[in-house]
């Protein structure tokens, strides 16, 4: 007799229902000795490929399936028997989701029609079709026959099991079909069932008490050992045996070839190789027409080599497909930018990643960097031992990307293309809010905790709670104890389906037979049910159409310059060696610039002092986890400095064999392809082997695989006479680097954009700020800090104003006018409608006129007043608010009857009440609260007179000696707790004159963690450190200035209005 196999099992990909990851289920199944296990998540196969690979690794045979919701709400369990059945399951799931986002429901008639290769079980104990609608079950039984339709019996040890199963057995007898026992597992072990209870509460947006009928009522929904199953079904061994026998039939293997093919141009009049040669030749003649003969000759040679390699690898169609998408992007860009736009000189998008090293990519428009002139290697991107299709990422301005995604879908067909999914997973903040609500914990306390939790690892919420005040009280409470435990368990579980930033899959065979497709949140878009890892495992070709905020900003900046000055900027022709631009970069004056604006980048820039684009390429790649963990940063910075002081300086290399591959980075590993080069040079790896090593170190780090490569590396190095300790040292560096770094080609593309952003900011600071504000959210700094920085460089910034502002920020002469879109509570569309009304019928003459004509609701009008957008009417804000209350409305804002009332032509006769003027504090706080920025007085200017004696301003730090005691105060604009910094927290303070770097050592952090993490205004005391041009305050104590600010502001709440600091890092 076949051993029992579980045929009904949910993972966490049954969102907010399953409580265990697929791997946990597989591991439990393997421990229990299951021969096979089916994954049957609700209405999807989101985790099936991940499950299938994990199951095979643990020796459990994976069975693909899903629990499908029918249109009437009842459930059936579908299991795949054959490849045809898999295609049908994908089609059925696609149909179940079509037009029913978040509420899938399959028309049963479709299942009766399209069920080849599928086995159908009659559904679960609560919502099974056989229970809810026996006649419908009978129809299905007839459609599938007794071989492929079985009545499903479950025994979750709830009252009524016996009666239900007796009725189901009777039904099976009537239909002439077999019964089969299933477990409906929702957790891999009993210990995880509490989380399943909590997930039910979260799904129903209530507390555990509030969802008693929906919960399972006991802890029996874990995966059982076969012996327990036998014991539970001792009166019905036949149904248990039926499960094992059925499992033996279900041999479809999802990890095998799915039959995917991308459109490879093989059906054209000429072979794809010929088509690609023609496309690149035409572009070559244009691009290299005026090139120096040497460059042209080298480029010719490179093109010939690449085309031969591409043909050999059978990838001509792959490049043609990308070229075709780029051509489509050109059309989309022309349409989005409009005729005669100053942006027409810009390419529609840019390549990033290792593809930038390819001349074929350069000539097909996939990249904008000439790899021959820039001396970029092809190695990693294309080599003879390539095991999968190369990665090509394309960056687009956001507006072009939005339209391109739809255009790609239209071109290749909705059955043949879809976006790649991603899964939003639980992190600390979400876990605290959701689990806390489920447990009925006080919302205010949860909110405080959530706000403190930036950078917490959700798995360690319990430990964090122990360090907070009132730990003892929480420890005594069973609810808080459960909270700590469940937050740890829920960490990392998928919460819902989301969209990958831009990955698209295109398939020759209908994609709907390879993976289910469902509608995305955004109208017109559709997602496949797999994330990028599953798509990669399935061998799908993913084209990444990424939206890059800085590209949008740069494009808009060019447009603003043309509008304001009638100057046409062609960014591909700007000088790349402007000394004034490099002077700013060398001084770390880089707020708002692409890639080189972070605190860590600034500190490094002061020492590396990039002088050209090559230096900037290294710089962009330098401050990344790879070089940091590979211990490359400090040696590189030191050596660069030595080289500057002594041009004859020879950087040390770990071994002479590394002199060549590491020459440009002074003996350190900074670029991803250097990992390959080092493995080739030191250990004699082939390029393919080296790429295998890099992959082993990448996304799914396999310790066993890395170990195997380590042995091979040491052996190869020994063969070249490299001492073992040197080989060990170098391998350690490679392993530390892993793949958390940029390829040089990618860094080169980013460095160019970094330079272009610096050049634009230097020449056109107002236009640049305007574009940057319109491209938010992006970058390291909140808009408030971008505004302050621009003001310091002389840009005039004007507040939002209903009489002149557009929805977006724009230029008024040389000044930047903040857009109405910055007023929170107004929204982009109402802001546009308001500006359009002004355009149509003339300026608003006063608050009453605004209230009558503006097509926005009353809270939005109040927000406009509160945020200072009505100041130009000439009344104080409180007066305006009072007058707004009296103003009749005649405009429909889509609201109720009040909004539709006709205006009375009478002025209010009420006496104007005595309303005290807002203080400077109140106005400034309202600006921050309502618009997220303030163009007026800085909070520190107001707070300065109340600060204790001896607090130093940021512009006075330069006069202090190294080691001097110092106190500084400011608004926290960024805090960072990098995984690589051993618990040190870095904070960036802003005062009225500039910024100050704080370094908070772990003991100080432990002592002052609440202030470090949550306070917007702080006073730090410590030691001033000056290393060459770097200036830091190493903090010894840190205190909140909230109480002081509150007192200074006249008992007005300050902290809540201040902008929240950006938080970075936090892995531990």
């Amino acid at each position: 007799m076949a051993g029992y196999a579980e045929l009904h099992c949910h993972s966490a990909y049954s969102f907010l229902d399953g409580a265990s990851r697929p791997e946990e289920l597989v591991l439990a199944a393997a421990e229990h000795g299951y021969p096979a296990l089916a994954l049957t998540d609700h209405d999807g196969i989101y985790g099936s490929l991940e499950f299938a690979y994990a199951a095979k690794a643990f020796g459990v045979r994976p069975i693909t399936g899903a629990e499908v919701t029918l249109a009437d709400g009842s459930h059936v369990t579908l299991l795949v028997e054959t490849p045809r059945g898999y295609a049908n399951l994908c089609r059925l799931l696609t149909a179940a989701h079509a037009g029913r986002r978040l509420d899938p429901g399959l028309d049963q008639a479709l299942l009766e029609e399209r069920n080849d290769g599928l086995v159908c079980l009659s559904g679960c104990a609560r919502s099974g079709l056989a229970l809810r609608n026996p006649n419908a079950a009978a129809r299905l039984a007839r459609a599938l026959g007794p071989e492929r339709f079985l009545v499903e019996l479950q025994r979750p040890l709830t009252r009524g099991d016996a009666r239900r199963n007796a009725a189901l057995r009777e039904l099976a007898g009537t239909l002439g079909v077999h019964t089969v026992a299933t477990g409906n597992a929702h957790a891999h072990a009993e210990s995880r069932v509490r989380l399943q209870d909590a997930l039910v509460a979260i799904r129903h947006r209530t507390s555990l008490e509030g969802c008693e009928p929906e919960r399972r009522g006991n802890d029996e929904c874990a995966l059982l050992a076969p012996a327990e199953v036998a014991e539970r079904w001792r009166d019905d061994p036949a149904s248990v045996a039926a499960a094992g026998e059925l499992a033996e039939r279900l041999t479809f293997d999802l990890t095998q070839e799915l039959g995917y093919r991308y459109p490879d141009f093989s059906d054209g009049p000429d072979p794809a190789d010929v088509q690609l040669a023609r496309v690149t030749r035409a572009a070559f003649d244009e691009r290299y027409r005026d090139a120096r003969p040497g460059l042209r000759r080298r480029a010719e040679e490179r093109l010939r080599e690449e085309l031969a390699l591409i043909a050999e690898l059978g990838l001509s169609g792959f490049f043609l497909l990308h070229w075709e998408v780029l051509e489509l992007a050109r059309d989309v860009a022309a349409e989005v930018r409009g005729a005669g736009s100053p942006r027409h000189l810009l390419p529609p998008g840019r390549g990033r990643g290792s593809s930038v090293g390819s001349i074929v990519c350069y000539l097909t428009g996939l990249s904008h960097v000439d790899p021959v002139a820039a001396d970029l290697k092809l190695g990693r991107f294309l080599n003879r031992e390539l095991v999968s299709v190369p990665d090509i990422d394309l960056d687009f301005p956001r507006d072009i990307r939005e339209r391109l995604i739809v255009a790609v879908c239209e071109k290749y067909g909705r059955e043949h293309s879809a976006l790649v999914a991603s899964f939003a997973t639980y992190r600390a903040r979400g876990a605290i809010r959701d689990v806390g609500k489920a447990l009925g914990l006080p919302p205010a306390e949860l909110e405080r905790l959530a706000r403190l939790s930036d950078g917490w690892n959700a798995r360690r919420v319990a430990e964090e709670l122990e360090l907070l005040p009132e730990a003892e009280r929480r420890r005594r409470s069973p609810r808080w104890r459960a909270f700590a435990e469940l937050c740890g368990e829920i960490a990392g579980l998928p919460r819902h389906l989301s969209q990958h930033p831009g990955g698209m899959i295109i398939s020759t065979r209908p994609l709907t037979e390879l993976v289910p497709i469902e509608p995305a949140a955004m109208e017109g878009r559709q997602l496949c049910q797999w994330d990028k890892d599953s798509c990669s495992d399935a061998g799908f070709l993913k084209i990444d159409l990424l939206g890059l905020g800085m590209l949008s900003a740069v494009e808009e900046c060019v447009e603003q310059i043309a509008l304001l000055r009638d100057e046409r900027i062609d960014l591909s022709r700007i000088p790349l060696d402007d000394p004034a631009v490099y002077a700013e970069i060398q001084d770390a004056d880089t707020v708002g610039l692409f890639q080189i604006e972070s605190r860590a980048q600034m500190q490094s820039l002061l020492r590396t002092r990039p002088e050209n684009l090559d230096d900037l390429t290294v710089q962009v790649a330098l401050v990344r986890p790879g070089p940091i963990q590979g211990k490359a940063v400090h040696p590189y910075v030191d050596r660069r400095q030595k080289l500057r002081e002594d041009p004859g300086f020879m950087p040390p290399y770990d071994h002479p064999l590394l002199a060549e591959p590491l020459e440009e980075t002074l003996g350190t590993i900074i670029f991803q392809e250097q990992v390959l080069d080092v493995a080739v040079a030191l250990a004699g790896f082939s390029v393919g082997e080296a790429e295998g090593l890099r992959r082993a170190m990448s996304r799914k780090r396999s310790e066993a695989a890395i170990e195997a490569y380590r042995d091979r590396f040491l052996e190869g190095a020994a063969g070249r006479g490299v001492p073992r300790e040197t080989a060990e040292l170098v391998f350690g560096k490679i392993n530390g680097f892993a793949s958390f770094g940029f390829p040089k080609s990618h860094a080169a593309a980013f460095a160019l954009l970094a330079y272009q952003s610096a050049w634009l900011r230097h020449r056109y600071p107002a236009e640049f700020l305007c574009a940057l504000l319109n491209a938010q959210p992006m970058g390291f700094y909140p808009p408030a800090s971008l505004v302050r920085d621009a003001q310091r460089r002389g840009v005039e910034v004007r507040p939002p104003d209903v009489r002149v502002s557009e929805a977006k920020c724009r230029l008024e002469g040389e000044a930047v006018r903040v857009g109405l879109g910055y007023v929170r509570g107004l929204g982009e569309e109402p802001a546009k409608a308001l500006a359009a009304e002004r355009e149509r019928r003339g300026p608003f003459t006063g608050i009453r006129d605004l209230a009558q004509r503006a097509p926005v609701d009353r809270p939005a009008l109040e927000a406009l007043v509160a945020g200072g957008a009505c100041d130009s009417f000439g009344w104080p804000r409180r007066q305006l608010l009072w007058r707004l209350g009296l103003a009749p409305r005649s405009v429909s804002a889509g609201g109720g009857g009040e909004e539709r009332q006709l205006a009375l032509p009478l002025d209010p006769q009420t006496d104007v009440p005595e309303l005290p003027e807002q203080t400077s504090w109140e106005r400034m706080l309202a600006d921050y609260r309502v618009t997220g920025l303030s163009v007026g007085v800085h909070p520190l200017t107001l707070l300065r007179p109340s600060l204790p004696e001896g607090v130093t301003r940021s512009d006075e730090l330069g006069g202090l000696a190294h080691g001097a005691r110092v106190a500084v105060a400011g608004m926290v604009i960024a805090r960072q707790r990098p995984a690589t910094a051993n618990g040190v927290v870095f904070m960036l303070l802003e005062d009225e004159e500039g910024q100050v770097n704080l370094v908070v050592p772990p003991p100080v952090y432990e002592r002052c963690r609440a202030a470090v993490r949550g306070e917007p205004l702080v006073l730090a005391r410590g030691r001033f450190e000056r290393y060459e041009r770097n200036r830091n305050v190493v903090v010894e104590s840190l205190e909140s200035l909230s109480a002081l600010a509150r007192a200074a502001a006249g008992e007005v709440e300050v902290s809540e209005s201040m902008p929240r600091a950006h938080h970075f890092g936090g892995r531990r």
């Binding site: 040890l157 709830t158 009252r159 029996e220 009925g440 069973p478 609810r479």
Partner: protein, 70 residues
């Protein structure tokens, strides 16, 4: 009440000095684990030799056996 077996496999043999003629159904209730008063019980729907129906449960939290009307 007289029971046989221990732990999760324990079940009543005699209730109110009557032999259990048949165990009609067994179910479990695990609830309120997040409170001061968690519930963890194993219920038995029994037919006694007298023909009477009775529900007995084992309180797994506090220990002890209890009966209630069916």
């Amino acid at each position: 009440m007289v029971t046989r077996g221990v732990g999760a496999s324990a079940e009543p043999v005699t209730v109110n000095r009557m032999q259990v003629a048949r165990v009609r159904e067994v179910w479990r209730v695990v609830d309120r684990w997040w409170t001061e008063a968690p519930v963890r019980r194993r219920y038995f729907d029994l037919v006694l030799e007298s023909g009477q129906n009775v529900v007995a449960y084992h309180d797994e939290e506090a220990g002890g056996w209890f009966t209630q009307r069916a």
